[in-house]
C-alpha cells in the first residue's frame, strides 16, 4: 500500500517511451525533466536530512558538467568514468563549503549563494580550461551499452530513469539508517542529539557531500546529453531555482515528491509558462514557489502523506 505511489510513478516512467518514444520533442522534455528531478532529489536530501536550504546547487551542477566534459574530451577518459569523476569533482568542491556548516540557516544559505556566484565567475574567466563564454563542445556523447544507444533520446531517458531511481534508493537507505534517524532528531533538538554523542557537523558534512555528488552526476549527464557547455548555461541560476521549486512543490520531506515535482514543474515551465510569456516566464515559477510556501509548505506529496497518516490513525481508532 505504501509503495503504491512509487509503483505508479515507475509505471508512468515505463509508459512514457512506449507512448512517445518516436516523438523526440516529448522525449527531449522528459530527459531534461529527469535531470532536474535528480538535482531536486539531491537538494531535498540536503534540505530534509541536513536541514540546510541551498541556493547554490548550480555550482555543483556546473562543476560536474565541466569536469566530466573536460576529462572525456581532453584526457580521453571513457564517458562512464568521466561521469563518475564529474560527480566526485562536485563532491570535492563541496568540501570548500564545509566551514559554512557551522553557520546557522540563513548564513549558510547566503554563503552557498555567494559560492555559486564565485564558481560561475571562475568558469567564465578560466578560458583555457572551460573555453570561457565562447562555449565548449565536441566532447564524447553517452556510449552504447548492450546494443542500447544511450545517446539516443530513449536511451538517455532510460539511463536517467535508472539513475534517478538509484539515487532515490540511496536517499531512502540513508534516511532509514541510524544516520538518518539522528539527522531527523537534530532538526529540532540539536543539543539533545549532540549530547548523546552525535557529531552533528560531520553528519551534515556527509549530507552536503552526497548532495553535491548526486548534483554533479546529473550535471555531467546533462553535459554529455546536450553536448554543449558554456558557463552561463552550466552554472545558470536555473539549476538552483528549478530544483528548489520542484522539491517544494512535490514535497521536500518526501522522496517521490521532488521527482514528481520536477517533471510537473519542468513540463509546466516549458509547455505552458513559456507559451504564455516567452520573456520572463520564470515569474510564474516564482508565484508558484511563493504560493506553495504560504499555502502548502509540505508540498503535494506531503499533503497526501499527512492525509494518509490521519486516515490510518482514524482506521486504527
Amino acid at each position: 500500500m505504501r509503495s503504491l505511489p512509487a509503483l505508479l510513478i515507475l509505471a508512468v516512467a515505463i509508459a512514457v517511451p512506449i507512448a512517445f518514444g518516436g516523438n523526440s520533442y516529448v522525449m527531449g522534455l522528459m530527459v531534461s525533466a529527469l535531470i532536474v528531478a535528480g538535482v531536486a532529489l539531491a537538494w531535498a536530501l540536503l534540505g530534509n536530512l541536513g536541514g540546510m536550504v541551498s541556493f547554490g546547487h548550480a555550482a555543483f551542477f556546473g562543476v560536474g558538467a565541466y569536469t566530466s566534459a573536460i576529462l572525456s574530451a581532453k584526457f580521453g577518459l571513457p564517458v562512464p568514468l568521466a561521469l563518475l569523476a564529474g560527480a566526485c569533482g562536485a563532491a570535492l568542491c563541496s568540501i570548500v563549503m564545509l566551514p559554512a556548516l557551522r553557520l546557522s540557516g540563513p548564513y549558510f544559505a547566503l554563503a552557498i549563494l555567494a559560492y555559486a556566484h564565485i564558481f560561475k565567475i571562475l568558469a567564465t574567466e578560466a578560458t583555457s580550461i572551460t573555453g570561457g563564454s565562447a562555449g565548449f563542445q565536441r566532447f564524447p556523447p553517452l556510449p552504447t551499452v548492450l546494443g542500447l544507444d544511450l545517446s539516443s533520446r530513449v536511451g538517455s531517458y532510460g539511463l536517467l530513469v535508472v539513475l534517478v531511481a538509484l539515487c532515490a534508493a540511496i536517499y531512502l537507505a540513508v534516511k532509514r539508517s541510524h544516520v538518518g534517524t539522528a539527522l531527523r532528531a537534530m532538526a529540532e533538538s540539536e543539543d539533545a542529539t549532540r549530547v548523546v554523542g552525535v557529531n552533528a557537523t560531520l553528519l551534515k558534512a556527509w549530507m552536503l557531500l552526497l548532495s553535491a555528488f548526486i548534483t554533479g552526476l546529473f550535471g555531467a549527464m546533462n553535459a554529455h546529453i546536450i553536448n554543449f557547455l558554456e558557463p552561463d548555461y552550466a552554472f545558470s541560476a536555473s539549476w538552483s531555482i528549478l530544483p528548489i521549486i520542484a522539491a517544494i512543490f512535490g514535497g521536500y520531506r518526501t522522496i517521490l515528491g521532488p521527482v514528481a515535482g520536477a517533471v510537473l514543474i519542468y513540463l509546466f515551465d516549458q509547455i505552458i509558462a513559456k507559451e504564455l510569456l516567452p520573456v520572463g516566464h520564470e515569474i510564474l515559477l516564482g508565484v508558484l514557489l511563493a504560493g506553495m510556501i504560504l499555502i502548502a509548505p509540505n508540498g503535494l506529496f506531503g499533503m497526501f502523506q499527512r492525509k494518509a497518516t490521519k486516515g490510518a490513525a482514524h482506521a486504527a481508532a
Partner: protein, 290 residues
C-alpha cells in the same frame, strides 16, 4: 598608476555609500525579525527603474522619482512582511525561500515591463564631471554620496531618538525583553520593513544616477548588501558604512588592478573568508553560529 589608484579609491568610496544604504535595509529587517529578505536587492532595482520611468517620461531629474519609488518599494516591502508573517512553521528557512521566490517574481516583472536592456541616466547635469585635485567624479556620484550620507544620518537619528527607532533597537537586541517592556514586536517589524523600503528607494534612485541598471542585477545587490552586513558584523551604522566603503574600494581596486570580470569575485571571497574565519565580522559582535 598612482593617479589610477587614487581615482579608484575615490570612486570606490562614492559607490560604497550606496552599498551602505542597501546593506542597512537588509540589516534593519534582519535585526528586527531575524529574517533575511532575499528580495531586498530587487526592491532597490525596482526603485532604480522608477527613476528611469520618471526621467524618460517627464525629463525631470531622476531624484524626483523618490516619492513614487518609495510608494512602490514601501508597498512591496510591506507585502513581503505580511507574507512572511503568514508563515507558520520553520519560519527562518521558509522565509528565505519565500523572499527568494519574491525576488524571482520581481526580477521577471521588471524584465517583462522594461525588457533586458541596460538603462542609465541621460541627465547632462548628473553625467557632468567635476574634479577634486587629482581625482574626478560625475556630479551624479557626488550627489548620490551626499544624499546617502544624509539618509544615513537621518536613520541614525531615527534609531536613536524616535520611539519606533528605539523599539527597533530594543527588539533587535532582545526580543523577549522588548515584549516585556510592552513593545509589540509586530508593529516594530512592520516599521523596520517600511524604513527598509525607504532606504531601498533612495538607494535605487542613487544607483540609477551613478551607474547602469538591468533586470538581472537584483541578486547581486542582495549579496553585496549581505557581504557588507557580514563584514560589519550587523552592528552599527558606522560599522556598516565602513564595511560598505571597504567593499566599494575593494571592487574598484580590483577593476583597476585586475579586470572588471573579477570585481564581484573579490567581494565574495572576502565575504566567505570573514564568514568562515571571523564569525563576528570586522567591526561588530553578533554570533551567527548555528
Amino acid at each position: 598608476m598612482l593617479e589610477l589608484l587614487q581615482q579608484s579609491l575615490f570612486s570606490g568610496l562614492l559607490v560604497g555609500s550606496v552599498y551602505a544604504l542597501v546593506a542597512l535595509g537588509i540589516a534593519l529587517t534582519f535585526g528586527a525579525m531575524k529574517i533575511i529578505n532575499l528580495a531586498h536587492g530587487e526592491l532597490v532595482l525596482l526603485a532604480a527603474y522608477m527613476a528611469y520611468v520618471i526621467e524618460s517620461r517627464t525629463g525631470w531629474n531622476p531624484y524626483a522619482a523618490i516619492p513614487l519609488a518609495f510608494a512602490l518599494t514601501g508597498i512591496v516591502s510591506v507585502v513581503i512582511y505580511l507574507l512572511i508573517e503568514r508563515i507558520r512553521e520553520h519560519r527562518e528557512l521558509n522565509s528565505l525561500i519565500l523572499t527568494f521566490a519574491i525576488g524571482i517574481i520581481l526580477t521577471n516583472a521588471i524584465l517583462l515591463v522594461f525588457a533586458s536592456d541596460v538603462r542609465s541616466t541621460g541627465s547632462p547635469f548628473l553625467q557632468d564631471a567635476v574634479s577634486f585635485g587629482p581625482v574626478y567624479a560625475m556630479k551624479g556620484e557626488i550627489t548620490a554620496f551626499i544624499i546617502s550620507l544624509a539618509v544615513m544620518a537621518g536613520l541614525w537619528w531615527w534609531l536613536k531618538n524616535s520611539w519606533y527607532g528605539r523599539a527597533v533597537r530594543a527588539v533587535s537586541s532582545n526580543r523577549d525583553a522588548a515584549k516585556l517592556m510592552g513593545i509589540d514586536p509586530r508593529r516594530v517589524e512592520l516599521a523596520a520593513f517600511i524604513v527598509a523600503g525607504i532606504l531601498a528607494s533612495v538607494a535605487g534612485v542613487a544607483l540609477y544616477t551613478m551607474s547602469v541598471v538591468q533586470p538581472a542585477l537584483g541578486p547581486g545587490l542582495t549579496i553585496k548588501a549581505f557581504i557588507v552586513a557580514v563584514l560589519a558584523g550587523v552592528g552599527s551604522i558606522p560599522g556598516v558604512f565602513c564595511a560598505a566603503l571597504l567593499l566599494g574600494v575593494t571592487e574598484a581596486m580590483t577593476v583597476t588592478l585586475a579586470s572588471s570580470a573579477l570585481q564581484e569575485l573579490v567581494g565574495m571571497v572576502l565575504f566567505l573568508l570573514v564568514l568562515f574565519f571571523m564569525p563576528n565580522g570586522l567591526f561588530g559582535a553578533r554570533a551567527r553560529r548555528g
